[in-house]
Each structure stands twice: as structure tokens, then as C-alpha cells.
Symmetry: D2
Subunit: 312 residues, 4 copies
Amino acid sequence: MPLSPEQREEIAAQRAEAYETRRVVAPRLEEILYEALPVLDHGFVRVVDYMGSDSAIVQAARVSYGKGTRTLRSDAGLINYLLRHRHTTPFEMCEIKYHVKLPIFVARQWIRHRTANVNEYSARYSILDNEFYLPAREHLAAQSASNRQGRGNLIIGAEADRVHELLMRDAAQVYADYTEMLNENEEGNVIDEGRDGLARELARMNLSLNFYTQWYWKIDLHNFMHFLSLRADEHAQYEIRAYAEVMLDTLERWVPLTFEAFSKYEMGGVNLSSQSLEVVKRMIDGETVTQEESGLSGREWRELMETLGREA
Amino acid sequence: MPLSPEQREEIAAQRAEAYETRRVVAPRLEEILYEALPVLDHGFVRVVDYMGSDSAIVQAARVSYGKGTRTLRSDAGLINYLLRHRHTTPFEMCEIKYHVKLPIFVARQWIRHRTANVNEYSARYSILDNEFYLPAREHLAAQSASNRQGRGNLIIGAEADRVHELLMRDAAQVYADYTEMLNENEEGNVIDEGRDGLARELARMNLSLNFYTQWYWKIDLHNFMHFLSLRADEHAQYEIRAYAEVMLDTLERWVPLTFEAFSKYEMGGVNLSSQSLEVVKRMIDGETVTQEESGLSGREWRELMETLGREA
Amino acid sequence: MPLSPEQREEIAAQRAEAYETRRVVAPRLEEILYEALPVLDHGFVRVVDYMGSDSAIVQAARVSYGKGTRTLRSDAGLINYLLRHRHTTPFEMCEIKYHVKLPIFVARQWIRHRTANVNEYSARYSILDNEFYLPAREHLAAQSASNRQGRGNLIIGAEADRVHELLMRDAAQVYADYTEMLNENEEGNVIDEGRDGLARELARMNLSLNFYTQWYWKIDLHNFMHFLSLRADEHAQYEIRAYAEVMLDTLERWVPLTFEAFSKYEMGGVNLSSQSLEVVKRMIDGETVTQEESGLSGREWRELMETLGREA
Amino acid sequence: MPLSPEQREEIAAQRAEAYETRRVVAPRLEEILYEALPVLDHGFVRVVDYMGSDSAIVQAARVSYGKGTRTLRSDAGLINYLLRHRHTTPFEMCEIKYHVKLPIFVARQWIRHRTANVNEYSARYSILDNEFYLPAREHLAAQSASNRQGRGNLIIGAEADRVHELLMRDAAQVYADYTEMLNENEEGNVIDEGRDGLARELARMNLSLNFYTQWYWKIDLHNFMHFLSLRADEHAQYEIRAYAEVMLDTLERWVPLTFEAFSKYEMGGVNLSSQSLEVVKRMIDGETVTQEESGLSGREWRELMETLGREA
């Protein structure tokens, strides 16, 4: 994550400031505010602002439920209750804002979550940096044979060398041709005074999807947890999961009680269909249940046995 | 706006706190943070949290447009430019949260703005206070003869007395019967130990739409300005406009540069259709234009002349 | 559900039309299109338009996953798979539009679902009908002793008579005073030529929350299922559940395969936290687990035992 | 726009179907339903479903405003009125669904409009076609000297040849290396049985942003008009404008009255700030106004003069 000297300076300046506020503060998040937390080879995640904390969720819930909430012993108990029973609106009362640097193909997955605000670096206005993602060798996996959306065995040896060679060669070439078409180098200096250079909004189309972009991204806590539950999941593509995992750490610093409830009910929780629940009840009663008479399809049966940690 | 002693104490406690933060701060908004700003006879608006400031908008825009924004002389110039050209996403990077006490019929208009987060006091859980809105005599207007959605002449004298009498009598009666059905008084004490009392979720249906409710309401700055442009407009019903006007003052304290641009381009601005623009051009050229040959309908013509401050 | 003669005529006219279309059609939904399905004492639900069907979901999924989806044996299997694995976007490709007549206090719960489009009858423009909801005796329940948000025992005998008496008396009075203030009767005829009448936007505030309103309401299938899973749930207030249940029937007519998957995975399904899953695994292994060493709170333990159909 | 034989067959089959429906129908849109309307060199736009029509907007408005709307002479008059006065909810009652094939860099601009539903072809599951956008020579423009976001003079002659040469060479190379890394050709056949092939979700990152993707995209009419007003605008990048312009034709077929109102008030309309309106009023009164004493910045002054068709 090679931050430019200007960026380092700006971050240091932001972190050096201290203001007085009457607002609720999340002290452990303040510790890392503005810091660039590295992800992948050139990416980062920075928390640049936030609003609210665990106590803001409790406060919003107490407005909704009035005196009714007094009977719950503690903030932690109330937050657990809210999350377990899908009372999601109090979690919408908190907001967090990130500055993220990420490969374009990751940005394309990320942006599908529409309940967030985004300001992306514009390649119509400005020149993109010469930085692209090159997967580390331990992430060079083959297509999974069993799962059309996943990765299988590691690619090693000469084949891995070849993948790296092709990715590096092509990235170097498309970037060189991007600057030639622009007639500007990475710093924006004209290369050849004798010609115009293609408009930036056109030249950018020659870059490949592993080049890095960056954006400001802001989301409320409820939708953020939904994002994390999908993107920190083991079925998510490794590259976006790498971002989600760093963001999970910032979640824990921001709203520790909510983080704990989220870990129990969302990340570690499971859904059972009505039929799967019937199977579970019978198994608890000591019955031997087979897929054939369970009412489940073969695929559902295998998924259930995996959930229960048993042989299919 | 009769705040209870507990509420006064809570607000005083919130205002007495001072924390250190690295986040951006809006000093003039901090001055009034948590204060209950009175609206109508029993309502209020309180800013209870916020995120960002004018500088956060500028910062987000500079991420989007990169070095391109450096050529604009000032933050104010950039904010003007963004608003004028509908580059709305940087304004979505700021967020504000209010605690509002308002009559139910106002809440019903307000909630139509769906791009906000809401936690409302639940009358399924808790008992509503015995407070209802009674319009001041200067707001007792007759139905407009010319505009189906507006108010006309003031109602005065005996007719005004009668309106007040009916509103007060009915509100007193529906609340008394609400508590009788609940078998609980306003403080939640059982009235008659010998019977059960109707469920709160049912009894509430007997209350009228002028009773007060309250909620936490959170919105981003872009959508907030859209809300204000509709609800602070002279065509909005007086009672919601009263809230919007108090909130305009808090907007000015929060993001003064944005407030100024908003006043120029949104609140004070006008839209002209392609045909109206043609009329304006001809009038500037000194032509005398009549409705008949303007291509405008009678209604559009009257609206245009009103906009231009001329006789129709 | 007393439809006016004009409404009956309009519905009959709509149902008599038959057009030719190249669009996908849901034949069993067409059968009841425009029909007013009664809910509560004066309410109704009418499907007035729809877009897509089970096949549209399959088609959208096949665009996303390309040839990958060919290996799934059937449309039903694919729809089950999508719902089970939270691939929700294909369900957003279908849309349905209802005309609903409902008490205002139900409308206030309903509108919290923000991902829908709404056009409500405006009491600023027009006079509300003299119709209010009066709960049938079998729905007159006391406040629950154990659940702050629910209903307990039925209220019977003289206490039930008294509730009905109060609700009817107050509704009659607030409506009479509404028309007196308006100086217009229900049909919009002036009562007393000698005075003006209060503006409609003001007079309406005297009506109570059990009066009926109506709206057009449009939503996509994914968000509709989310609405139904919350509002057809046994914890929802009876009055909104009555609407959700009628809408479940229309869902079944519209997208029968999706309805079946929804019944299995959403309506009949359960969530288990990571700790509850551990308890279940141990119980299947024949262990005797107690609340004390389960890691669950007393409340969570009772909820889990209820889910599993066992004594707590 | 080289449709595959399978696609041609599928479209022909869809167009050959005719069903009976009680729903509202838009006859001129039915004429082109499912047809692939060409855009750019390999892209297309196909309307694949719709809901509602001009009459549905009128119907929704009449529910909102009740008898009040009867006084407006015609559907066209009512639709004009609604659009002019920003009564936008009735337009949300209509919905349209497209199948679009478009370059990835265009998709990245398009997806910023978050109020739509999207199902995109997944390059995690399936192999992307070997098709990329090559701008026609009349669209090869230089960066604008005056506008950081726009295009200036055409690039011609040898420089244009060179741009085409680079774009074609790089696209050919990144695609060839994509298939080599996949160890699969465009049809999905294994190239070399002796090795695994990189996972699709990784290999795709080598493709450049001018490659084509496709998606289903669904939006309501209000948000669709907002999309079109931004993307059919002369400041939009040519490549996305090319799509918006074809979609404007489908809008005209779908809701002709709304299209006409939209053309007058949105596409052809202008916004004037409060200060610009003052300048216009003074000019109509025959005054000579200069920028210096207008209160407008130099940039605002030039924009206003351009709007009024006058020398700055």
C-alpha cells in the first residue's frame, strides 16, 4: 500500500487534530480514525467519519418502545434482543464513512449494495494511478469442479508463473497504451506537444479490471451488517472478503456490543427451513432420518448435514 | 412545549458533556445540540447528532474529481458549482439526526419521504401523552376557493370559537375514553383493579390525528435539502412548514456554505419549461407576447407571469 | 366492505376488458384482477396490476449465472436455490400493485416499509368517508401480561360492550364535528351557506385513527416477501396480519413456485444463533443440555425450546 | 450487434406469443417488445416487460386527490400539472424492464443510479464473450481544453489510426490471455487437458473496461425520467447518451403523454437561481445588466447568457 508522501502528510494532519464535541464518541474507533489499514497488495480501508455508537442504538430503541425497554437488564441484553427479533430500525441510527482503495472488479461487486452513498474517483476528470492487483501465489486457485462460483485447488509451479507473467505483462501494456493515447504520463504531464491526446473518458476504457480505483463510501449500521454478512461469508470471493474482514475489526471498535450480537446471530447463525427443522426435531428424539424420507432434496440434505457437522 | 422535568434533566446532562474527537466538527451546530427548539403549541425539534460539514462535501468532491477541483477558487465556489449542476452525491456524505415531537397528521405527511431512517414512539408498547395540537387563531383558515389544496380567508369570531370548542371537546373525550379502555391513566397506573383493560395496540385507535407523537429521524444532507425544498415551500401545509423553517435554521448552523447555495438555487430558484424559456427570450427582445400565441396553457401562463412578477 | 355503486361499476368494467399482450402472464392472478377482497369490517385489497411471474425470476437468474444455471433440473429447483442462498436480485424483477382500503393506524405501521411506492387518498383535497374500524368481539383482547407488545385474554361481557360503546360513540362524534367544521357533509355539499368552513387539511385532524383511508401500493417481489414475513407473522398486530394473509393468497396465485419456496424457507423457517446451533448438535448427540451450561440467556433458552417443540 | 442464432430464435419465440390480459396495455410499446434495438457497435437495448401506462398515472393521481382531479380537463393536462409541480409519486406507479448489452465502463456509470433493480451477467460463473467497444472515428475526440469532463476536437488521421490500433491490439491480447489463463476458449471448451485453468472470478480481472457485459435492469417511471434527464443530457458521456437516446424512443412509445410533458419540463427546461431570475426580470424591463452588478459569478453569468441565447 504505497501511500504518496502527500497522502501520508494529510493523514497525519487529520490525526493530529482534536476537537471538542457534545456528540457521542466511540473511543476505540477514534484511535484508528483516518489510518489507512492495508488490504491486498495496494488497497486500503480508512474510517474517515462515524455517527453514533452502541448507546445511540439503545437510545433510539427506548424512544420506540418507551418505558417498555426499562425491564431489559442492560444495553447488551437490549441489543441482543433487537438483533434476534429483526427490530432493525435502531441500527439505522448509526452511520459510518470509509475511504477505500480497491481493484475495479471488486468495486463492481461492492456497488451492488445500493443502500449506501458513494463518491468514486472519476477517470473522466483525472488520470488513474499505475497500480493493479496481482494475486499472491497462495490465492491463485483453479476453478472449483463442484461449485460453479468458487475456487478449487491451488495453481502452482509453472502454471502459476505463467499466470503472473500474463497479468503483469498485460497490465503494463494497457497502462502504457493508456498514457500514450492520453498523451499524458501518470503525473499529468504532456508527452508530445505536437498532438492532442484522447479524452480521458475514452482512454480509460483500455485499462483492465484489476486496476485500482478509490471511493468514499458511507452506510448505516443495519445495512453495513447486511453487507458484511454477505461479503465476509466464506462463499464471497476472496478479494472482497479481504476488505470485509478488515471492516469487521473496525465494526468491533465502533460498536462492541452490536458486534458481539452480530457475531452470534448473523455471522455464526444459520437458517433452517420448516422441513429441516422437522428433521432436526426427529434427530433430537433419537430417530434415524434418511434423506429419502426427509422431504429434502439431495442438495438440501447435504447442506443440512454440513450445518449439523455430520456425514451426509 | 412542556418538557417534563426528567426530559429537562436529560437534555441538561447531554449538553454538559464534552468529549474529544478527531472528527470534523460544526461549531455553531454544537452550540444548540440537544436543545429542544419549540414548534407549534407542544412540539419541538432537537438536533441529537450529525456527521460531516461543508468541508466533508468538498473533500468528497475532490475524491471524485481529483485534481480537477483544484482550479476552483474556494470551497464556496465548489459547493455552488456542485449544487447548480446537480452533482448531488457529495452532499450525501453528510448526515443529521433529529428528535422531533409532532402531531400525528404532520407525521403522516412527513413519512412520505422514504429516504430517511425513523424510530417512532410505539403506542403498541407505551401510553401516549395527553397532548394534542390546537391551531392558534391566526392559523384557522377556511378552505381556499381557488386552490383545492390550500387555505383561504381566516375564520374569525364565533365560527373560530366554535372550531376551538369542538377540537378541545373531542380531544378531551377521546383521550378520556382511551384511558378508560386501557384501564390505565396517563402515568400507566391501573384505574380499576377489577378488570383487564384493552390492549394498547387497540385502544390507541380511538385517539385523533392531532395528538402528538415523537420520533428519531435521520437523513443525509442531499435528501434533507429535497425535504426542505418541498416542506418549507409556501404550498406546504402550514403545520409541517413550521417544522421545516426551524430546521432551516439548524441547516444554516450546520453547513453555512451549503445553506447559502441552497437558498439561491433551490429555495429561491425557479424552473422554466422549454416553452416558458422561449417566452422569456422574446420578452427580453422587447416583443409583446400574449398567452394565446405563447404555446402555454392559461394556467401555465399565469404561473409564468407570477414568477416574473408581472400582471397575467 | 360496502363498495359504492360507482366502484362496483368501475371494477366490473375493468374486469370486462381483455387485451392482447406479448408480456408474461400469471393466469391465476388474472382471474381475480381488480376484485375487492374483503379485509376487516370495511377494508379491502385489490390487485390492480403486476409484472412478471415465476418464469421472469428464472430468466433473470439465467442472465446472471449464464450457462451455469442449466445444470439445475427445474425452475422450482432454481427458485428454491435462489431463496435458500439469499440470491435476492432475481425476485426484484417482479412487481405487484395493490389498491388497499385500511384503517389509518394500520396504514401507519404499513408505511414503515419504505421500499414501496405509495399514492394515498389526500384528506387535504377531499373529504374522508364516514367509515371506521370496529374490532369484532373475538378480537377485543386485553394487554398481554407477559409481552409488552401483544394481546392477552379476550375481553368479554360488559367490558366488551363498554369498549364497543365508547369506540362507536367517539367515532360518530368526531366525524359529525369534522363535517360541522368543514361546513360540508360527506358528499361535499355545503351545510350552511352563511359561513366558510374550515380548510380540509385542518379539519381532518379531528378524525380518529380507526377511520379508513386508501392507497395504491406497489412493491417488488423481494421486498414484498420481506413485508409478508414480518406482517403475516404471529407477532404482528392482528389487524395488519389480516391484510398480509389475504395478500399471501394473491402471492400464491401470482408466483406459485416462489410462494412454495417462501413458505418453506421464510415463513416456516427459523434462525439459530451460533450458540443455539451448538446446543442442537449436542442434543442430537444424545447429550442432556441445561440452560445454565448452554451459554444462552434464560429468554434465548425458552425461545429455542419453543422452536424445538420441547419443554423449557 | 451480432446476436447469436440462439438469441435470434429466443426473441422470435417471445415475439410470437400472444396472451390475453386484463391489465392495461401500451400498444405501441408492444410492437417492439423483446426486439433488440442496436446501440454502439455491439450493444443493444430490449424492452422485456412493463407495467402501467399514462392511464395508470392518472388513475393513481385520482386516488390521491380524489374528486379534486375531475376539474382538470384531460389526462394530458393532469400529467402536465403533476410533472410541473413535482407531484412525482403517481409516476412511480409505472415500471419498465430492459435487457441491455453495454461496455463495462458504461455499466459503471449507469449503476450509480441506485433506485433500480439489476441482474448482471456474472463473470464468476460464466465466460465473457469476445466483444469490445471500439469507438467509431467520428467519436474519437480529444480532451476538452475548457471543460475537464468533456471532449474537444476530433482526433483524426494518423493519431486516430494509432488509437484504433492500440485499442484493438490490447483487447485482442487481454482476451487471448484471459482464455489462456482460464484454459477454456470462448465456448467453454478446455484447451489443454493437462492443466487446471485459473478460476473464472480471477481470470476476468485481465479484461479491459471496453468489453461488453449485459444485464436486466428495471426501474419505475419517475426514477427512469431522472436517469434520462441526466444521461440524455449533452454533458453526459457520448457512450451512455447513445443508450439514453434509444430509451427515450421507448419512453415515447410507452407513455406518450408523459413523454411530451417530460420533454417540455425536464429535458428542455432550465433552472434559474434567485439571482438569475432577478437579472431576467430586469432585462425584460429593458435594463442593461452587466455581470459586475448582477451578483452572479463570471461562470454563472456565462451559463445564464448561454441559456438565454445571448452573447456573454
